[in-house]
Symmetry: C2
Subunit: 646 residues, 2 copies
């Protein structure tokens, strides 16, 4: 891709962007503020700039007179960079240079950490838990008429040194005809033992040589969404993927509501049936997208939180929500997926990630295993942020975990104009520190509908750093801007005037919104802090952060540190693994090592119930400020704040 | 019971019988022949005797004149012994004393060998494979909120030193509520491992203390009949039993016909369904007879021949009937009985006896295990005689087995007036060596309908020893009796004239009948001989015989040796275990030792296919005589025969 240098005057800020980037996004990256409210549709007409050197594509508008166009005036939100260009931001839509230098830090999201499959191969750990073996048995005759099973078992003992085998009735039923279909050549599908000396379970037998066709489905059973991937176990590649909303949503949005539903007569069975139906629809989609024979799917790996796992297995989850919060089990035995209604084929084995506690479930364990955190030296903080946040700290020697209720703020819940990260959500934001005029960016560059979690974090961070709000999330009531106003007794800031929205209402950010955000980030930060304290460590010892969950990919890291959601570390040390649960599920289909390691990992993952930890409340109260009562914990921010004061 | 001495004149033969015995049965036991044809109904009036001292009850008849009655004449078949008595057998219905001394040996059936439960207890082996354990767990609290399963597992590790546990999903589903029903006191139902270091499988959990209620069902799946027993696993006692015809009979009487049926579309499924239906009806009968809670049945042990076992498990048996006669498996894994439609409860575990080969199945292995033969020093011959005869020889160090097709003669098949051992079947027989007049006994002492297997053996033996037939089973055609006649070119002996029968037809024994009998006994004897030769031993080295199967209980041992069905050994050394399959099934519910031992027993049970053993045909031809071409193999008979000649 062609790179273009963009220079913004009068500040002389330079940035290199890819060809085709809009001028306004280039400005955001350069830390240059341009007033803009309409999300890039060219409706508000506020983001006028003057192209002084070079050319841009588009950016014309009825709102710009012909002579202005001729002199190089364009709308920054519509103008696309096509080469090196020098752009002047007019005085009415910027601030003077000295102020500009104090603009918020450029947007910076976490580096994406891919599943480390190549590493796995190099280490010789690409050993799927279920393998296929091609065998050529000697056919029986009058002198050697041992039973079919004995023939197979004896051969494996002699030729493959496999001594412990477990055969089930369904395999025995197939064996006589399969053996004779291609003259006693056949392919075994065999689950390797977790440990040496363990049993090999023969899952399936197929006539002839099918050892080249061995597939797995990896599946994340989320409270909201269920994702699946089809994995080729001979190459490690993902062949297809699909997702669907968890059908249980109709019975409650969150796990607690679903547990309550499960307690009703027939409720548990209904929820199990419904989640299996979603799982089956995802499987159908995946199989339709590929051209494989479903008979060749040998493995299905699952990960889900504790409640999702118990509901999937039809195990009554009622004690999860009642003190002292006892789940039924950590480890679940492997079982035939068909046994509980999953439709792949009769033999495919289901391997489930174990749980740690009622609130730290298999989805988190999957993230820990899939990210490889449990094998690394560095002291790592693993964070999966959603309505509930799960936190894990530790390294290859020890692990501690906890969960806290962050509330739905990061998913748009409890926020006046909150919404999920979808088209029209304000995802990025800047503010003119003099005029308090905003620059907004929406997902899909369309007119705004609301504010998503990452937008909210950025807004709060920028406003705090620019002095628009104080460290308790209260607006500067002295400023004369009409954007800060009191409606029905509540102070709010108008982010977008209604004419520039999709919803024909002023999109505002209110003090209660900020309060909810502070509670949410405070819960997470104090959770981390309490967890570290419990193991005798301090927050600044964290060497690395792994973010998991859909939300994590959009977070502007420096902004998240500014509001005190994350501890302040080098953004380079923050990685994003996306759906860690799915990554873990996929990883566990590719290496049997995970089945062995996961038992000890869950055993050494010390779980802390925050409600049982007295210091949590103190830490929480200390975290109810931006970024925290102790600004010393955020030295980079402190430096920027002091520079701004001067 | 009062014992009475009976003396028969003129032979001065004495016998002691129980009060109430009929005079004619007393005569049979004393070796005294009295003509009698009607089975004891007093119809033929032939069995007149003269009571000279003492009194008898009944025995009067319209056929006896008043003055005869007054002088002590009675019908021997109706007269019952009530005290010491002296009886004269009239000249017209007996032979002279010198001949009488050469009468056949008294009837002698095998000593019944009970299941050796007391011995098992003494040896400390009364350790059922499934045990129940009562546990009192510490309830969870905020400091100790480990998952329910972990709580259980940790407790078992600490308190019971049980380290390897296997839990299934259904148990996990029950656990949360069961634990909480009686304040964390509960009873585990646990399958012990076969070997040390093996896994304990937790089958079920119940609230509170149920450790005193642990039951098993032992079940013999016979081709014709299915028998079940309910066993109290805390005392070892049998609480109830029941049986029913195997519903598969409608689809074929013998295993081969059923295999052919199973090869048809849907046939296998049908036969499985039908046998499970019979099993379920037997279970219902047993449970109705007892007052136990079916939830407390933990174990169901099964034994059956190879075809019955494969049909029960819905494993295609087609290769059993085709050379080289390959069954699917020897060992079958334990499984939940409910899995294949057996209705007891959801958790009861099914333990099946392993097979040795297509024709030596789990019923025989059960007999070997149940009788304890595999643990004894003596060289033992185990014989299960039916349409197919299974033969096992060996001792605690080695075992060899084979099966041969005896044909249905012993069950009344292929015999002109053959019938099963039921009411009206001639089961015992004697003949007057001068007049060739018979004395017959029927099951139930009613008028005869036909001849059962044991009756047939006795007839052939007595006739051979009395010279009525020669060693090829041909009648003495020189005798003037009208009972030996030629009908439609076939020589026959009239056992009962039609007037004395229930069927209004002369009941005859034909030369083809004798031929079939000789083939049947020849097949079995030559099977034993070939088997012994294959392991380098001779028939006279057999120290003990164990008879199994319904038929064995009625066999007159000395007669069976006379015709060469059994090798000639001391009858004291022959025991009868009845339904060895059921005995073995019951035994295996009581001691886990059998599960351990049976694997090595089946491994060391060398199987010989007679069709693949060239010497079998030679042995068979040599055995096609009464008793055998080599009379030297039967020294007691030889002595009697020589005495008779003199």
């Amino acid at each position: 891709m062609k790179e273009c240098n963009v220079t913004f005057l009068p500040h002389d800020r330079k940035i290199t962007v890819a060809e085709g980037e809009s001028l306004i996004r280039a400005a955001l990256q350069a830390g240059v503020h341009i007033n803009a409210s309409c999300g890039g549709e060219g409706v508000c007409g506020k983001c006028r700039v003057h192209v002084e050197q070079g050319l841009v594509q588009d950016g014309k508008s009825e709102r710009i007179k012909q002579e202005e166009l001729d002199s190089g005036v364009r709308l920054a939100c519509r103008a696309k960079v096509t080469g090196d260009v020098v752009v002047r931001v007019p005085v009415e839509s910027s601030v003077d240079k000295s102020v500009m230098n104090l603009q918020a830090t450029p947007r910076r999201t976490a580096r994406i950490q891919q599943m480390d499959f190549e590493n796995l191969k190099e280490e010789g750990l690409f050993i799927p838990p279920v393998e296929k073996i091609y065998l050529r048995l000697p056919p029986p005759d009058a002198q050697n008429n041992m039973p079919d099973v004995t023939r197979l078992v004896e051969y494996l003992k002699l030729e493959a040194d496999e001594h412990k085998l477990e055969l089930t009735l369904p395999v025995m039923r197939k064996l006589p005809s399969v053996m004779r279909e291609e003259n006693f050549t056949l392919t075994l599908t065999m689950v390797r033992p977790v440990r040496k000396n363990g049993k090999n379970i023969i899952l399936n037998v197929q006539p002839g040589d099918r050892s080249g066709s061995n597939y797995a489905i990896a599946m994340d059973i989320g409270t909201t969404t269920i994702y699946g991937q089809l994995i080729d176990l001979t190459t490690g590649q993902c062949l297809a993927e699909a997702g669907d909303f968890n059908g249980q949503i109709s019975y409650g949005e969150d796990v607690i509501t679903r547990i309550i539903y499960a307690e009703k007569a027939g409720g548990l069975e209904k929820l199990q049936e419904v989640v299996v139906a979603t799982i089956n629809s995802v499987i159908e989609k995946i199989i339709r997208k590929s051209s494989i024979d479903r008979e060749d799917i040998s493995t299905i790996t699952f990960s889900g939180n504790t409640t999702m796992t118990q509901l999937f297995l039809a195990i009554d989850p009622r004690n999860i929500r009642r003190a002292p919060y006892v789940p039924t089990a950590t480890l679940y035995p492997p079982f035939r997926a068909a046994e509980i209604g999953v439709s792949i084929n009769e033999h495919a084995i289901a391997l489930l990630y174990p749980q740690v506690s009622s609130f730290v479930g298999g989805d988190i364990v999957a993230g820990i295993m899939g990210s490889g955190m449990y094998r690394d030296e560095e002291l790592t903080l693993f964070l999966d942020i959603g309505t509930n946040a799960e936190l894990v700290v530790g390294n290859k020697d020890w692990l501690a975990c906890t969960a806290c209720s962050a509330g739905p703020a990061f998913e748009g819940g409890g926020i006046e104009f909150g919404m999920r990260a979808a088209k029209g959500a304000i995802e990025d934001f800047s503010i003119d520190p003099i005029t308090y005029e905003p620059m907004i960016f929406t997902i899909g560059d369309v007119r705004p509908k609301g504010i998503c979690g990452s937008g909210l974090i950025t807004m709060a961070a920028v406003m705090f750093e620019m002095g628009v709000i104080n460290n308790r999330g209260k607006f500067n009531r002295e400023h004369g801007t009409p954007r800060i106003r009191k409606t029905n007794g509540i102070w709010e800031y108008v982010v977008v005037w209604k004419d520039a929205t999709q919803i024909n209402r002023d999109i505002v950010l209110t003090e209660p919104d900020l309060d909810n955000l502070i509670r949410a980030k405070g819960a997470i930060y104090s959770g981390c802090m309490t967890l570290l304290e419990e193991v005798g460590l301090a927050m600044d010892m964290v060497e690395r952060i792994i973010l998991a969950g859909g939300f994590g990919s959009y977070i502007d890291l420096e902004k998240a540190m500014t509001i005190g959601l994350l501890p302040e570390i080098d953004p380079e040390k923050v990685t994003f693994i996306g759906n860690g649960s799915l990554m873990g599920a996929r990883m566990s289909s590719l290496t049997n090592r995970i089945r062995r390691d996961v038992v000890s990992v869950t055993q050494r993952m010390t779980n802390f119930e925050l409600s049982e930890t007295p210091s949590y409340m103190d830490n929480y109260i200390a975290a109810m400020f931006l970024p925290h009562t102790e600004i010393e914990k955020f030295p980079r921010l402190k430096m920027r704040m002091e520079a701004r004061k001067n």
